[in-house]
Amino acid sequence: MSIVDRAETAFESRELVIARWINVLALFGLIGVLAGSLFLQFGVGEQPCPLCLVQRSGMIAIAVGPIMNLLWGMRPLHYALSILGAMVGGAGSVRQILLHIEPGDAGYGPAVFGLHLYTWALVTFAIAIAGCAFMLLWSKPFEVGDTGVAGERGFLRFVALVAIAWVTIDLLIVGISVVPECGLGMCPDNPDDISGLGGIGGVLMTLAVGAAAVVIAAIADRRLPSGEAAGS
């Protein structure tokens, strides 16, 4: 391999590592949103409405793209899935905004920094669509034949595993918590509030989920092969 080829390979590997970090950060952004909604549900005691659950489904759909990029390798298909997921979640947000668009309507649930959660959700979905579009403009990470972080031991793999485990635990919590609220059918339009764990209880629950994600990631990291990381 000539020195020019080597330099080019190293540069492409660096671009791949940057793209992977962007995907990890996107997952942590989604974790923040999901953790906020779980804090409201279990800490404050506000049960999610059906449209809130549709938006949570959209958030989870967005996470599919970055998780597949990290575990399977960078592919345009994965970003396309995230874009479609954001559009589905966005439909739920737009619907809920329209329900409360009339002047004088106080909206549903608490406002955070002046906007209701469904409006913030729409902002998140719009950012996700724009972010995926920008990542699709950047073709280099798709050209290096990436097979994912699973075979490459390192800090990036560990952090990626923490993010993936965290999103998965959040998905399980969201899914299981639907059963007592709605049973197997549709959820009530205006669900009754439950007695929450309180502010500190909600924060502790979020931290416990994060700690569980770190433990699962550490176990997975030990079991996965210890190949050389890209760009090293």
């Binding site: 059906p50 449209l51 659950l53 549709v54 489904s57 959209g58 989870i60 759909a61 599919v64 998780i67 597949m68 575990l71 399977w72 298909l77 899935l81 479609l84 997921g85 589905v88 439909a91 739920g92 619907r95 329209l98 329900l99 998965t168 998905l171 399980l172 969201v174 899914g175 639907v178 059963v179 709605c182 049973g183 197997l184 059918g185 549709m186 959820c187």
Partner: protein, 49 residues
Amino acid sequence: MLSMFILWIAVFLGIFFRKKWVPVLAIVSMIWTLVLLRLHMTDPIPLNF
């Protein structure tokens, strides 16, 4: 609405086990989410798509 999240759990399991059907099931999950959204649209508001 539990079915929506069961589908997503299946999608995640498919990702972890590298199953080829993951993109198809992810799209099915999204369509099912839209179906549930449509079923919930019972209020006669403007732009009731």
